[in-house]
Symmetry: D2
Amino acid sequence: MSLKVVIIGGGSSYTPEIIDGMIKRHHQFPVSEIVLVDIDEGERKQEIVANLAKRMIEDAKASIQIRYTKDRRKALQGADFVTTQIRVGGLKARALDESIPLKHGMIGQETNGAGGVFKAFRTIPVLLEIASDIHEICPNAWLVNFTNPAGIVTEAVMKHSQHQKVIGVCNIPYNMRSGIGEIFNVSADRVMIEFIGLNHFVFGKRVFIDGVDQTDEAMRHLIDDDLNYSPANIVSLPWNKNFLQSLNMLPNPYHQYYFQHEEILAKDLQAYRENGTRAEVVMEVENKLFEKYKNPNLKEKPQELEERGGAYYSESACSLMSSIYNNSMDVQTVNTLNKGSIPDLPSDAVIEVNSVISASGPMPLAIGPLPDTISGSIIQLKKFEQLVIDAAVTGDYRKAYASIIMNPLVTSDEKAQMVLDELLQAHKPYLAQFDKEVVNV
Amino acid sequence: MSLKVVIIGGGSSYTPEIIDGMIKRHHQFPVSEIVLVDIDEGERKQEIVANLAKRMIEDAKASIQIRYTKDRRKALQGADFVTTQIRVGGLKARALDESIPLKHGMIGQETNGAGGVFKAFRTIPVLLEIASDIHEICPNAWLVNFTNPAGIVTEAVMKHSQHQKVIGVCNIPYNMRSGIGEIFNVSADRVMIEFIGLNHFVFGKRVFIDGVDQTDEAMRHLIDDDLNYSPANIVSLPWNKNFLQSLNMLPNPYHQYYFQHEEILAKDLQAYRENGTRAEVVMEVENKLFEKYKNPNLKEKPQELEERGGAYYSESACSLMSSIYNNSMDVQTVNTLNKGSIPDLPSDAVIEVNSVISASGPMPLAIGPLPDTISGSIIQLKKFEQLVIDAAVTGDYRKAYASIIMNPLVTSDEKAQMVLDELLQAHKPYLAQFDKEVVNV
Amino acid sequence: MSLKVVIIGGGSSYTPEIIDGMIKRHHQFPVSEIVLVDIDEGERKQEIVANLAKRMIEDAKASIQIRYTKDRRKALQGADFVTTQIRVGGLKARALDESIPLKHGMIGQETNGAGGVFKAFRTIPVLLEIASDIHEICPNAWLVNFTNPAGIVTEAVMKHSQHQKVIGVCNIPYNMRSGIGEIFNVSADRVMIEFIGLNHFVFGKRVFIDGVDQTDEAMRHLIDDDLNYSPANIVSLPWNKNFLQSLNMLPNPYHQYYFQHEEILAKDLQAYRENGTRAEVVMEVENKLFEKYKNPNLKEKPQELEERGGAYYSESACSLMSSIYNNSMDVQTVNTLNKGSIPDLPSDAVIEVNSVISASGPMPLAIGPLPDTISGSIIQLKKFEQLVIDAAVTGDYRKAYASIIMNPLVTSDEKAQMVLDELLQAHKPYLAQFDKEVVNV
Amino acid sequence: MSLKVVIIGGGSSYTPEIIDGMIKRHHQFPVSEIVLVDIDEGERKQEIVANLAKRMIEDAKASIQIRYTKDRRKALQGADFVTTQIRVGGLKARALDESIPLKHGMIGQETNGAGGVFKAFRTIPVLLEIASDIHEICPNAWLVNFTNPAGIVTEAVMKHSQHQKVIGVCNIPYNMRSGIGEIFNVSADRVMIEFIGLNHFVFGKRVFIDGVDQTDEAMRHLIDDDLNYSPANIVSLPWNKNFLQSLNMLPNPYHQYYFQHEEILAKDLQAYRENGTRAEVVMEVENKLFEKYKNPNLKEKPQELEERGGAYYSESACSLMSSIYNNSMDVQTVNTLNKGSIPDLPSDAVIEVNSVISASGPMPLAIGPLPDTISGSIIQLKKFEQLVIDAAVTGDYRKAYASIIMNPLVTSDEKAQMVLDELLQAHKPYLAQFDKEVVNV
Ligand SMILES: [Mn+2]
Ligand SMILES: [Mn+2]
Ligand SMILES: [Mn+2]
Ligand SMILES: [Mn+2]
């Protein structure tokens, strides 16, 4: 029996991670074929990655076929799972998402603020095309989406594609479980966190070790021991103790953009002046990684990969695919339809939520009403996300403006227009839906 | 390490079922002590049951201590789990719940209609006392409630007791899974049904075999093959095909009272005229059972027990307790807080819902909005249940009247008063909360 | 300046009422032209009515032009208001709506139970056509809908027509205010009732005399003095005192079908056996009325018109049109979009609610959550209504079945099918949308 | 018949405004007695104001008795209306509310940001005492609250006082109608704006002139003609055109703090450096006003009063009291219970909403769901307001911290603590509820 996985964005430096994950899980998730797909710009990188993947598989003596192609539709034939780890416009586009807002004195970041909005604007149309292809060519395949902003993109597919078998994945929840595991000196799999919120805006409401509620203990540690969960790609500052005490929940590192806005902005501006954008830093890391990947003696993913900030992404994705394949009914944290899990949010919104993973996909656990402290912020962010989706699919300038000005990291009506217009101009090649509008600006 | 279970209503004829369940599960749920508790009226029956239990345990070579007592508070000391299978007023009270409405030409049934309301009125105060004792004496113990109307009683405890570790159990969901398993020729554990609704008013929205959606196939079978799930204690008629097609969900047998109202009423009235109440039939069955139980050579639960209609109750309760004990994180169907699982119902309402069972109790799976066809009925029933609870805890005559007249099986404002007044009079010894009111009538 | 009113269903015996209303209000609502529209079957009646109307206007020396036609689209040109008082299939169809359910031992009534469902099935497609014509020909005109079931029909237009300027009217709210006025010995215009609910399922939650809350006093009167609001067209029984006390609101006469189900059914069955359907009684009343109308000396609406049960309908409609015309900003009770007025119901549902009447239409007053006692019933009825609308516009047999079985006056799954099939057959000429389905039955 | 109004905070410089309003309305709102009440600090000012009031009344030949006192409870005897226009801590406290946040580089303003939070913390306990006195002494009296933050304070009374007859008043809605009236060249009473939102965070969703929807025209004017509604007390900048186009609603001037955050902060900081706080400016204006008031020849409110920023406050309050007195059933914009008017907000939240004013108080008009663009912001602000109320009544430090950090104008977790601690210290005499907490800090 065949089991085929298609990796769209196969030339990503992360690909060896996911290959490694599939090798390790081969006994329970017996993939027989992996096809990497990329576009012209990723062609050479994809070749390098594919060759490394072949060496890794050979070394592990796993019976997995590796292929790579630029023909997406052909690749999709017979696929059981499709993962997307694309970056529309590449790291150059990310550099613009970061630098343009920063030039105007506002947060310029990959998935937050005006930069995050434009990453969504560029990505959503491409993901909708991919979903459409899947629905036509391999309608039973699950689309496992890594591409950021993962929550927004997943909701866009749910709302605007016929293909409903889509799940968004982020490594933050696993990072947080892992961090809590370290504190309690247990492995991550003994930690359950009741997550509540949205991708990159998720809180840990309750902490369980072996099923026993240890939230108070966890909060005590966090407050007293300055625990730090931050993934590599975001600046990290310690939290004010009163913030943690008032919240009485685990924040995630991205919350710093919202609740340490002033300090993070100052740090980011300084870093930008000194080293340019984070995108430029990443480009260098990537270049070095690909140099390593070329090494014909390299037969496993190199250590340096973890520096990239995406550690555990592949872990999350592989264990998700395996649980669907095996109807495992275990609990994993994914981006999927709310369905009342948080009754304050629309049932058809995508949230990041603990879900039982079955052969028919994720079934979210109900959480109940949002805690008073953070309900306003979470609802506001979700409404913002929906403005983004609406603008991304319609290409309506006013909706785009609305999504920018309603972002909590955008500081004024005037600046909203400036960054909107500059980003529309800068990303023009990837924003066909706004064509009519951009002319008018 | 000790593991103590207290069975309140120990003299119930069902007790050997649950003893049997605990013996079978002893390897994974190593109960060290079982204490049966009953009141004066159950004293002799409890002794008989306890002796049978001892023989069963001895025969099985399980190391479980059995004791029995009338001192509930003493029994609760050190308890880990408390199950309640009481019947306030005994089968005599049930006979009144059945006969008084029937005399007025209305459905007279144990858990539905005016009879069900009065079972709740009698039971809720007692369960609140038990919950209060648990909260004081063994606050970490889980209260596993079998007593009907299980959904209403569980919500009453959740809303009016400090003890929040309470779970309601019914065998209908397991019966339905088992019935579907027979159709598909697989064991019940390979069947998952997405249940939606309330105890005794639950529907099977989707059917999965090994995680794969087989709802259409299941509905086809139901419509073509006249599948029948009915437990022993309710009259069973086949469903109209159009009803099943319009519903496109699995009904449960109790739905007949609502959607075959006229026919069931006719049948029940005839049965009542010919054989008296169901309670009286059960009394005979019980008498025979207890005669069997006395037999010193009997070392296992007798076959006849299944006739009683409560098959799988103990199955459900034992596997629930075992999963809590082991933090199993498997999915079971229980009566617990909604928490948004059905966003059309209040978050703090109790519903019957698939839940992941952890050491911290059940975590319900979110289902999403109620299907149009049945949303009105389910919401209406839940509102009715809440009127019942409100009347039961306040002893307010007008609220009691409201709960009766708003029950869909009660046919007029005049008859509502008649059955209300007669049932208040008939059950006076068990309705201290209504004392002031009953005098006024 | 011209002000044109089109009356669709101009041959109705009620028309002289509305003509009378427009004559009396001519100083504030200066109608210059009234066009009656009817179909072939109403041609002769319309002529009689038009001639009476001319005599009434002449007698009153009002400068209103009267015309009548069968060409609806032509009549609509330049219209400012369009009223609809049609009866699709005429009184013969009503006789079937009444008799077929009664033959099966179920409530057979014009606007409730299975009969009401079929009145909706026949009426909705016609009203949607009218609304479509209005939207095309006179898009600024208000559609004031008298046709029953007025709430359901109005919601159908709101949801399935582009023409959103539609308001449903019923005389029950005015009747209730008038009844309360009699009790308090004040005129109806000094009475305000906070209505809550749906057309023909509306309750009076609070009673104000000159703005002062007199609800308790009103309830006391109702309970002690056996006040009776019943319009002529429905059987009337006194309410059980405990019902009124538990409700603590004013019921409307149609509530008897739901809360005195058994007694009303018995009475209706007896009446049917003795005198045939209510439709047949009405036919005779109408014949006599039209004989009167022909009298060339008759120059005002005859007394007998009030027997018809529609008293105050024209009052309600004329004062509504006048307030829109004058932007009066007074409060009237109409069927319009909920918009949160009752937050437990969808914002886009039509409810019967006190509304400020402006030149831009009705603005409903917010009421707040439904009282516990009746929230279940009201939500259930609204969901039922939405099943009816869904079936009416799709012509889907399963949806039609669902709407019938979910009606609280339908007593079983088998009978649901019988009355559905018989009514579909009986009304075939008026149910083109079900054509495909009826063949299959 | 007597009609008594009590003005708490009688020494306010605004009092002559309200006296003027009552004189002008004397024919329809025949006040027979006005009692001014103030505390020691306001004693001399109150005397001055009372004397001016007497001269005004004498000059107008109105038969109104004026008295003033420091004995609030005595003053309340027999009161029909009580207005509150107090400022707990006086303008000195306001100066601290403004300066402390500004020193930390954050918005320091009377009703927004951390300053607004502390105004609520100081005011809520006093208003709850007043409401408690009213409930005891003159339970039928309406409390008309001018005191800011008027929406938050009104909700606090609704939720934490037995006295439910309370209405909050602000002049912004009238200012906006008046501004629109100027554009359309009609008087304000011909303008209706459909307001949606919260006090100082209200939007004008639709504009009607004589009941006809002119929203598009109004937006066109606003965008093309740089219309400006700003009251005197807040800095005013023009809006970005795209902001207005995206919003497609009328913003109110306080929205600048949120949507022109950066620019307003810069302006406010500069103004603060140059002229000190707005409070200090107001102190001077007040001193000059009181010098005028002392003039025994002054017999009317002086022109300079309008500079104060509170123009139309008295207009709003007097017309509100008059409409209650007369059961006028006209539409006014007040702060009252939501009741579903905006179904996205809790029914028991206070919102600023068009309401029909009856003898039984305001009945809000239902609006329907919040527009997508601003629903997130409005919900977030309401949740923030509820955190403020919760902290104000409990005196819980963590809740106070939560309310500060969740305010959109507070820029970081660290700064949240700094301004919280400094403001708690600075306002200690007025924050008895935080006593325990402040010690701990
Ligand atoms: Mn992520
Ligand atoms: Mn059961
Ligand atoms: Mn009617
Ligand atoms: Mn204000």
